[in-house]
């Protein structure tokens, strides 16, 4: 597990206590620090989710009861042909479908080339991370279209750009209000951690 995957689990709504993550946290002081920093927010979400999942069964039972009594009078969904929505909303849903189709197609094509051996893949990832760091850190522009930059907006799953490096850009944006000292301490240490675990 690398630090990116650990972050997925730390912020996972349900699997945040899984064994794999605990192992990683024991071995990785940076992710441990990250988890501790985020803990007040995470625990708030997790407590609420735990509480509501405990009552979900009751809620489902409740709505099942409601539906079984109401169904006799009204079907849950109207028969086809009844007017029920603005054309604009339906059009919006159709456009969303079109966009998602196009993007999943694109991701599929991007993922289709023969898979690299995992050791090669790790080296490639490490190289990409270094390159991204160099480009972002030194502000060099190669005047390459964004889509062809590794880890740019359309990066497919499996070729993740490094969150910890990208974070530095985000911090420098004035719109984002943060406690800089805590952010920097966590984030910058994670850059090194992430490099290690990706290249190992």
């Amino acid at each position: 597990m690398n630090c990116d995957e650990a972050f997925d689990l730390i912020t996972h709504p349900t699997d945040h206590q899984c064994e794999e993550l605990q192992w990683h946290l024991q071995l990785c002081p940076r992710c441990r620090q990250m988890q501790e920093t985020l803990a007040p927010a995470l625990s708030s979400f997790h407590q609420l989710l735990d509480a509501s999942s405990e009552v979900d069964e009751h809620a489902n039972h409740y709505s099942d009861l409601q539906q079984s009594t109401d169904h006799e009078e009204l079907p849950a969904f109207p028969a086809a042909g009844k007017p029920f929505l603005s054309a604009e909303t339906v059009r919006m849903a159709e456009q969303a479908a079109t966009r998602l189709s196009a993007e999943t197609d694109m991701n599929r094509k991007a993922n289709s080339p023969a898979p690299l051996k995992s050791s090669h893949k790790r080296l490639m990832n490490a190289a990409l991370i270094l390159m991204a760091g160099v480009l972002m850190g030194w502000g060099i522009s190669l005047e390459v279209p964004e889509s062809s930059v590794p880890g740019a907006a359309s990066a497919p799953e499996g070729k993740q750009s490094c969150v910890w490096i990208a974070q530095r850009d985000e911090i420098s944006r004035p719109a984002v209000r943060m406690d800089k000292s805590s952010v920097n301490s966590v984030v910058l240490s994670c850059v090194a951690c992430h490099l290690q675990s990706t290249a190992e």
Partner: protein, 197 residues
Amino acid sequence: MNQNLNDADIMKRVCAGDFLLFDELVLRYRERLLRFAWSKYGRQVAAEDLVQEAFLAAFAARETYNPTFAFSTWLWTIFLNLCRRHYKQQIRQPREMVRSSFSASEDTVIPEPSSSETPLQAVLKTEQFELLTMYLAELPEVQADTLRLRFFGGMKFTEIALTMDCSLSAAKIRVKNGLLQLAHRFSEDTASEGDVS
């Protein structure tokens, strides 16, 4: 039995005319959409209406659904768009929600908070939820929405990226930055409580 069908299979059968099966999708996602909506709009009727409208839109546009993408991603995309539109309308003028003939059957799907309260709603009424909602509202909207999608929507980062039309790393950064700010807010609160005592 319907529980064994995946979303794509259900949509296939809905498109073939088995309309009532769409109910299963409503059951699967309603709660998560509602959690999101309540955390964004509080316990206003608008929250329930927006959830309802999202399902209706997906149902009406069912022929354009394509199993190459997840139904959930599509539903969340529709829902987020509706939320954004609602927000713009709210700013321009408080306007009545688009109501449909279907809304007559609304109560069969979403129990009204006012009349009879579900246990979930009871949880969402807690002080803790209200505090979280308040702090979320202080964040930039995209950041707060990303957190809501992650925790209340239970979405993977790849799904969030697709839904919000952003990169995977942007989705993760939003979650991380949002959590950092929330954590900071919660810590401030604890510190000030300590000062008082």
